[in-house]
């Protein structure tokens, strides 16, 4: 007897987005990275192709990350005063597929760095590593709108992944991406309708940009609403496979950014004996969040802890193994 395997027939697939550009393509990256393109639910290779494996970006700041727990900072102590060296270590020692450069210093409450300061840092990081780059501002829209354009211009042709466009504020980032040939992160607050609406708004500015959008559905950390993100992502991916073109983009999740501010990441075993060793627990918190998100279709994980990155890359190897019947 043979069991009749149930394979779903989907009408469509996720768009493929290319990150970075080599010299032949107008940039200076040593290689490009493709994300997306799935024709099946996550890792169900028996019913459709997953042409590109999920990738891991490691976060690099342009200031010293004072607030990170010591157990995490220890990995970067020799480099975190220098974003270029930091990025190089992430790629060469920790195996990062991408670098996510975060311009924290631009925050008016921190250093209020100018666009010129940020450009200088960006150029150093571009020179230090060959992998494609993700570029985030400081997270305050008013300020980010003043630096994203100049950063995009300074790196024209590099096909950076620029973050972030939001429903209330997408034009500056989208125009910068259009003008200087970059891709963009479209971020929506755990809401599938807003995710879709935002992609429609961006496509109204430029249809070709649709192939250069990565959705950030806004993820929550393990224990802090992760299941909301998980279900929104499952619905978005299911929609994409069933023909919803405005949801058919690869997805990115800011895992490290969510996890490392939580109590579980920093509280010591002395204060919370039932929770075990802080160093291992915090690392596991990040890795667990990332693994859960992979099961819902995450394509790009932005992470911090080198061991969590290593574990997730190994898990991705396992998940990408053929399981067809």
């Amino acid at each position: 007897m043979a069991v009749e395997i149930l394979k779903e027939k989907y009408r469509s697939q996720v768009r493929e987005v290319v990150l970075g550009a080599t010299s032949a393509e107008g940039g200076t990256r040593s290689h490009t990275i493709k994300v997306g393109g799935e024709a099946a639910l996550p890792f169900l290779h028996f019913e459709g192709e997953t042409p590109n494996r999920p990738v891991v970006a490691m976060e690099v700041w342009d200031i010293v990350p004072e607030d990170w727990p010591a157990s995490l900072k220890a990995y970067f102590e020799d480099v975190y005063h220098d974003p270029a060296a930091w990025a190089k270590k992430c790629v060469e020692v920790y195996g990062a597929d991408l670098i996510a450069l975060r311009f924290k210093s631009a925050d008016p409450d921190i250093k209020d760095s100018s666009a010129e300061d940020c450009i200088a840092t960006l150029k150093k990081v571009l020179a230090a590593v060959g992998v494609p780059l993700i570029v985030y501002g400081c997270g305050k829209a008013d300020k980010d709108n003043t630096i994203m354009g100049p950063l995009a211009e300074a790196a024209e042709g590099e096909n950076l992944l620029l973050g972030v466009a939001e429903a209330e504020n997408y034009k500056a980032v989208a125009s910068a991406a259009m003008a200087y040939k970059h891709s963009i992160i479209a971020q929506s607050p755990i809401d599938i309708n807003i995710a879709k609406q935002l992609n429609i708004l961006i496509s109204e500015m430029s249809t070709p940009l649709l192939d250069r959008i990565v959705i950030d559905p806004t993820i929550a950390a393990l224990g802090y609403g992760l299941e909301y993100s998980y279900s929104i992502m499952e619905r978005a991916r299911f929609g994409a496979l069933n023909g919803d073109r405005m949801l058919a983009m690869p997805m990115i999740g800011n895992v490290g950014n969510e996890v490392w501010v939580k109590k579980e990441a920093s509280i010591s075993a002395e204060e919370q004996p039932g929770w075990g060793d802080q160093a291992e627990r915090s690392m596991a918190w990040e890795a667990t969040t990332a693994m859960a998100l992979l099961q819902a279709g995450m394509d790009i994980l932005v992470m911090r802890h080198p061991r969590a990155v290593e574990l997730i890359k190994e898990a991705i190897d396992d998940l990408m193994q053929d399981n067809s019947y």
Partner: protein, 442 residues
């Protein structure tokens, strides 16, 4: 997935006798479909129709129980593929491996000591998997005896030698363990043991095809409390097999696979094992057997389980009341928000990040967010004033200032009248709290 009224109607006697209390058989069928009536009310329904209707309305995945009394663990009875359609009913039961070659008492003592409390919830480890790693029947029985004496947790007895299983059962049958496992060679004896002792039986095969054959043979022997193991041990293959079993049971009503499942991690490294386990919980595993007993790895695993098995249709609430952030004292700021968990945790995270010890009052809004609760009269000046009073804030802090969410700035006047406190309107979004606190309290 129940039958429609019309499908049920086909099986009814169509006499319209009204004995069931409904005017017609069709009306009765509609009531049955909605779960508002019981088939027993019909005096004329045939045995054949009863059989057809009860098997058709049975859940696509059988409910299987392991253990006894208050400790019983329910497995299966799932109806969905995606949790956003409707909640998953029974959280994955986690079993930690104890080998009969280990110091059983010491290992069990360590496992029993594992209790987890997070966000006001207790996370439980339901089971231990007692493994006949020695291959020796006498050793296995001794280990099982020791375990019965030592722990109240439920057992999975892992041993494919039927004679050794029989010996172990003589010590543990009263605890109604899950027997692992019947395979193609031992299934007759294992099924007999499971039936004689009223235990659930795991069925282990080399692949889905073999599993189908084996389940059918065991069901033919008369046992139905089964738990399925398709034999896969690599992450990708387990996900594929578990997905097939769930889909075939739920979507195709394929009865042979309509049972709970069991999965074993295969990674030796405990951290890598954790990630395998995370995937297996996400993908339809009913009983998950892990080797690690480390708190720092089990806490994230059990937190993930708690997340995944929440009801997606019900807002998740945190305990209403006073939450103390850091070493708060008489001069610390007092914030208030709702008890919708997403809102509360965002606020808590930001307040924590201000590094200023503070109090947060989460007002009981039935777990809904600030603006929704305001619109629904569940987040009102009266309620906040009452919370300030009931929580004894006047004794806890010297000042009389409370921060309210910017989105409900309109409550300021009324709340000042009601409470006598000065009301400071905070930022609209929690992301503004750090800057706000820096300006107000630093």
């Amino acid at each position: 997935m129940g039958l429609t009224g019309l499908e049920i109607f086909k099986h009814l006697p169509k006499t319209n006798c009204k004995a069931c209390g409904f005017p017609t058989c069709l009306a009765f069928a509609m009531a049955l479909a909605n779960g508002k009536a019981s088939l027993d009310a019909c005096p004329d329904v045939s045995e054949a129709a009863k059989e057809a209707l009860s098997s058709a309305s049975a859940p696509p995945i059988r409910l299987v129980k392991v253990g006894t009394g208050d400790n019983v663990v329910e497995l299966g009875d799932e109806t969905e593929i995606f949790r956003h359609d409707k909640r998953f009913n029974h959280p994955t039961a986690v079993a930690i491996v104890v080998n009969d070659t280990d110091d059983v008492a010491a290992r069990l003592e360590a496992i029993d000591a594992l209790t987890f409390e997070r966000v006001g919830q207790q996370y439980k480890l339901e089971m231990v998997a007692l493994v006949n790693a020695s291959g020796d029947a006498g050793k296995f029985k001794t280990a099982v005896e020791a375990a019965v004496a030592k722990t109240a947790k439920n057992f999975v007895l892992v041993c494919e030698d039927a004679a050794a299983m029989e010996g172990a059962l003589s010590a543990a049958a009263a605890r109604k363990p899950l027997l692992y496992a019947a395979n193609k060679d031992n299934y007759e004896k294992m099924t007999q043991l499971a039936m004689a002792n009223g235990c659930a039986l795991a069925v282990k095969a080399a692949n889905l095809d073999e599993l189908e054959t084996l389940v059918e043979k065991i069901v033919a022997l008369g046992h139905k409390d089964l738990v399925l193991d398709p034999g896969s041990r690599t992450t990708s293959k387990v996900i594929a097999d578990m997905t097939q079993i769930r889909r075939l049971a739920v979507r195709k009503k394929f009865r042979t696979f309509g049972y709970p499942t069991i999965a074993f991690t295969s990674k030796e490294d405990e951290q890598a094992e954790l990630l395998q386990a995370v995937a297996y919980i996400a993908k339809y595993t009913s009983v998950l057997v892990v080797k690690t007993a480390k708190k720092e790895l089990l806490l994230p695993l059990l937190s993930w389980r708690a997340n995944l098995f929440t009801d997606p249709q019900k807002p998740v609430a945190v305990e209403p009341g006073l939450h103390v952030i850091g070493d708060a004292g008489p001069d610390s700021p007092v914030y208030c928000t709702t008890n919708f968990s997403l809102t509360y945790y965002l606020v808590e995270g930001e307040v924590d990040a201000t590094r200023i010890p503070s109090y947060i009052i989460s007002v009981d809004t039935g777990g809904i967010s600030v603006l929704t609760a305001y619109a629904d009269n569940k987040f009102t000046a009266e309620k906040i004033a009452k919370a300030i009073k009931d929580l004894g804030m006047e004794d806890k802090v010297k000042h009389r200032k409370i921060v309210i969410p910017g989105a409900v700035a309109v409550l300021k006047g009324k709340l000042e009248d009601e409470s006598g406190w000065e009301v400071i309107v905070g930022p609209r979004e929690s992301s503004g709290i750090q800057k706000f606190a820096k300006a107000q309290f630093a």
